[in-house]
Assembly symmetry: C2
Homo-oligomer: 253 residues x 2
């Protein structure tokens, strides 16, 4: 059994907590939380601590806190030469305090507190300083997910940027779609099958093959009609820029 | 049995053809195609014609051709007072030649020739000039889909614009994600679970509730790091504009 301590009680920490608890080859011995009440319903209260002095020795310390707190939290762990990892897409491994062995355990997914998630399908991107540490992280990752990758800090940064495009920005386009529906007394439900199919397509087609619409066809009549229809500046600007980018992409190929 | 003639042999026409053929209460009596070979494998060849003179009388003529051909095609139907509909999101109903009764039968989905689709989940937005015609269209639509809506031309235009945002533009963001992966020797597969979960979230959360990421948190450190990382102008511009739009949206609420 690999012993694990989790530090954090937010969104990502709560999902990891549940996944670690379910894993048969892991023993989640403690969770350190600034706000113990947030996770009191998720595990045996004896395992929840809020003081670094109470931390037990473990094979792995997983820091799942906000990016700007990672360095400080890692420096407070009262041990040396332990394996300490963070779970962030954008923070370099070296921000972890150097008194311990460093690593990264980055689950690439969008987590919502109110929505349960199947961890087995979540890619986990790992980084470590030595082969031994990487093996340990692989064992932990494989115990909760079927998709485990080893990538370096630069690739992780790329992955995080790409994730912003395909998740955060995509969701903002959903929001604009929802706004347009509301303004025209249309149910957002009308768009949901289209949203799901658009995502589902990329399992069998490349995004380039899957591209359709007026920009792809360079249908300027429809494009201009849409621009005339839109009355919010941000919607117009986004429409223009993405249309031009699709047209330019078509010309490159 | 409602008798139906389909005009067109492209992407949308082929998906409608298959759905009409499966529907028990419909009798697809003819398909008029400029390129009969494109659909020869999909139905009895005797039903495929390419000359308007051969058109039989039917309860409903469904024109599934490109937007700019709808007016011309509708004028070539050698009958009067028949119900003639088009399937476009962006063309007003009145572009159909006025010698016949007009309507719209707009299936709101993204169709790819190489990917089969479950028509029962596709919203169909209907428009007609009279209650009787609307009832007929409802009967046809309900025979292939569980999601039938009545909307006017202005709402349909709004829906089409919204669809461009949540489908065509979203797919372009997938393409950018795929480009970033390729440039950094990462498999696009890494992003697929995130893409699917981002879409799936809007079934249980509003897009506003589902929004996460550096823009939502106004995390300028990460935003600037991402802008420095991106080296293509269009990617940088899209990143900036969508980030600003998410930040502005947060302030409105």
């Amino acid at each position: 059994m690999i012993t694990v301590v989790l530090i954090g009680s937010g969104n990502v920490a709560q999902h990891l907590l549940l996944a670690f608890q379910k894993a048969k080859s892991l023993n989640l011995i403690q969770v350190l939380a600034r706000h113990p009440k947030q996770i009191a319903h998720l595990l045996d209260e004896k395992k929840i601590i809020s003081d670094y002095k109470e931390l037990k020795e473990a094979d792995l310390y997983v820091i799942a806190v906000s990016d700007n707190a990672i360095a400080e939290v890692s420096s407070q762990i009262p041990f040396t030469y332990k394996l300490v990892v963070h779970t962030s897409g954008s923070i370099p491994m070296i921000e972890i305090d150097s008194k311990n062995r460093k690593g990264v355990f980055y689950p690439l997914q969008t987590f919502s507190k109110s929505k349960e998630i199947d961890f087995s399908q979540i890619p986990i991107a790992l980084e470590a300083e030595t082969k031994n540490d990487l093996s340990l992280l692989e064992a932990v990752a494989q115990s909760i997910s079927n998709q485990v990758y080893q990538i370096n800090s630069e690739q992780r940064k790329a992955l995080h940027v790409a994730a912003v495009f395909v998740c955060n920005f995509v969701n903002h386009l959903y929001e604009i779609g929802s706004e347009i529906c509301k303004e025209n007394n249309l149910s957002f439900d009308l768009l949901k099958p289209l949203i799901l199919e658009t995502a589902d397509k990329i399992l069998s087609l490349t995004p380039n093959e899957a591209q359709t619409g007026p920009a792809k066809r360079e249908d300027t009549v429809t494009i201009n009609a849409h621009l005339n229809f839109l009355n919010k500046d941000n919607q117009k600007e986004i429409y223009k820029l993405l249309t031009q980018s699709i047209i330019d992409n078509g010309k490159k190929l």
